[in-house]
Symmetry: C2
Subunit: 407 residues, 2 copies
């Protein structure tokens, strides 16, 4: 059995007309003889509608019931897609997370998949049905609905592809593939044909919104090659795999822009062994993901520590830090929300020196001050003023020779 | 443990403001020390929105997935109510049908409850939580979501009240109680203080929309006394029980108007023993409920048969009858959709003669021809032209002395 997992995002199923187009696309593929497992997100706008209802009631809605609310969005879209396929004479069967035992931990709003019981899906595929699975949702061991976080439908698709040993995992979205930068900001951005898991992983963590970071991790871990494609046309998209032969070797593959950043700086912390654990432990307990961390060498017996978090975690982080501050006399907190992270990514960087220097040089020539720096083997990230983010991205895209020459 | 089951209809939870009002009402009651089980419908408008999405795709959407779609409405409202209660500091726990094992048969769209596993609810109540249960939904033995049909949230509430041996079952709605007739049509209609199960059952089956007929049956079967009340004020509402002492003994309690009727007449059927089974068997298999049935005495070897169904079953009934017709040579089918059923109901009728005569007399005086007649111990129903329905109801309401004297 050739199993293909396809995931359709919210804009791809954003209206009845689009759901019917997705149905047609599925039927064409089905007629080639493949066994299809389709993962669907909520219709675009629906998730935001549900979340804003919850937030009208409470700033921090109870997470167990928040996930129950949130999961209703995918319930609607998978039922509609199944109705559309059956209406067109194709056997189809939609399943909610709990119905195919997508078992997760209990971290509501950001749950992690622990196991998928595939027998029910296999049975339906063997009977010739198209199986549709609700994206982004699972169930904990007590039977409570959990959700996997924004973009979690990709995670569902990749986890299913791994569990079912699928031949292919196609991520359908509203863009043609992965781009060298955000085309709305960098007008000369080009589609990338092939990427490694590592590059995609860095790009996802650096603000490229095409794939959620967790789904890239999962694809890399289980070696599930992905194709990111548009559901609105038939262009080839971007292939992401373990090792990819590139058409042309560039040092830098992409420039990433992440405007969802907030910076905290703790001044005058005591220089002692457990200090990092004391600070980051309580944040980690609340599932707050720390992004960049910068620590200067100690001055006297004191250190200064800066880090960034997602803007959505800003208020909670601030609350936790305020509590912690009382433990350290003479310490102070500053924070800043109007910042952005601009990064350059590429496996070519490993064997090339001078990328950092070139990056700082380009930003310097454009009078863009760098507020924080963080590097890995295949990327360099700089925090700059939010107001200068777009200019920085364009300067780097041009400076590293990524511009689409036709534009 | 004093368990009280309360059901809030769609208009009672039709907006965030209204959900918060319901939460306040629940908290007041909770503070009196009662254990509360709250059944909630989908926010008003939501069910229609979901159904119209399905109907944009298919005239007859696949029923299994239709129920999955439909059930998302209640999922949203129970999650929001739980979030509202928890925000106000009250422990609350919302459950979907499958989570508290409301097991039904597999008649999608009109499923019947077979059993409720109450242990999970009892455990939460004992822990002091307000338990919220999604109305109108259950799960079949294979784990598929089922729904109980329009108005099925009342059924959920009554079934829970029976299973939990609740002290009280309160049905909160957007009207003050059960009226002597539809106040939008009969301006002189009055609220009824007390009704017997039998009267309510007849009234529900005759088009009074306050309670679904199946829920009245269930309340009668398990002897669950009901209070129908408004969620917008604190008036007493209508009490419905096994035996009720009435303040004033009237022959007729109410005039019911049912505009959801379509009539079929089969002419020239053979007069033979199995003929009724042959006709009604295929309709029953598709869960089409037959309302009035009128058969004239045979003429020669032929009979004429008339019956009414709900307008929503019109197309399917017509399709089935067309197939059946080919079996009987010389038979013919006629049908009519622009009709209404006007009924008078009252336990007093049992001991009073002349009610039928009075009814026909009143309609005759108003030049309203009667197209079909059907009677039971405590009601008389007449089919009239749809255009004359309101006039007929008003004439009967006045003629039987039901008018509110203050109006």
């Amino acid at each position: 059995m050739n199993i293909i997992v396809q995931k359709y995002g919210g804009t791809s199923v954003g209206s009845i007309e689009r759901i019917e187009n997705v149905a047609k696309r599925i039927i064409r593929q089905k007629k080639r003889g493949d066994s299809l497992v389709i993962v669907v997100s909520a219709m675009s706008g629906e998730t935001n509608r549900l979340i804003s209802l919850a937030h009208e009631i409470a700033e921090c809605p109870d997470p167990l019931h928040y996930d129950m609310l949130f999961a209703a969005g995918e319930q609607v879209s998978i039922a509609l897609l199944a109705i559309a396929l059956i209406k067109k004479g194709i056997e189809a069967r939609a399943f909610l997370g709990y119905q195919v035992h997508i078992v997760t931990d209990r971290t509501y709003k950001k749950a992690r998949i622990k196991l998928i019981e595939k027998s029910k899906i296999i049975k339906e595929l063997e009977a010739g049905s198209v199986v549709i699975v609700a994206g982004c949702q699972g169930v904990d061991e007590e039977g409570n609905i959990t959700t996997l976080g924004r973009g979690g439908s990709d995670t569902t698709a990749i986890a299913l592809a791994a569990a079912l040993n699928a031949m292919d995992c196609e991520i359908y979205t509203d863009v043609d593939g992965v781009y060298t930068s955000d085309p709305r900001i960098v007008l000369t951005a080009r589609k990338i044909d092939k990427l490694t898991f590592d590059e995609m992983l860095e790009m996802a963590s650096l603000g490229a919104k095409v794939l959620q970071i967790r789904s890239c991790e999962l694809a890399k871990k289980y070696c599930v090659p992905l194709r990111v494609r548009s559901s609105f046309n038939n262009t080839k998209g971007t292939y992401i795999g373990e090792e990819v032969k590139k058409m042309e070797e560039r040092v830098i593959s992409a420039v990433c822009i992440d405007k969802d950043q907030a910076r905290f700086t703790l001044l005058g912390l005591p220089f002692k062994p457990n200090i990092m654990k004391e600070i980051f432990g309580p944040l980690s307990e609340r599932s707050i993901v720390i992004d960049m961390i910068v620590q200067n060498p100690p001055m006297g017996n004191k250190i200064n520590l800066s880090f960034t978090v997602s803007k959505s975690d800003y208020h909670e982080t601030k609350k936790i830090l305020k509590k912690l501050k009382s433990r350290y006399s003479d310490s102070a907190i500053t924070d800043e929300q109007k910042i952005a992270k601009i990064s350059v990514v590429g496996v070519g960087m490993v064997s090339q020196s001078g990328v950092a220097h070139t990056m700082f040089d380009i930003l310097g020539k454009h009078n863009i001050p760098i507020k924080m720096i963080s590097t890995s083997e295949i990327k360099i990230s700089c925090i700059v003023d939010l107001a200068q983010a777009d200019a920085a991205a364009n300067a780097l895209h041009t400076g590293f020779g990524l511009d689409n020459k036709r534009t």
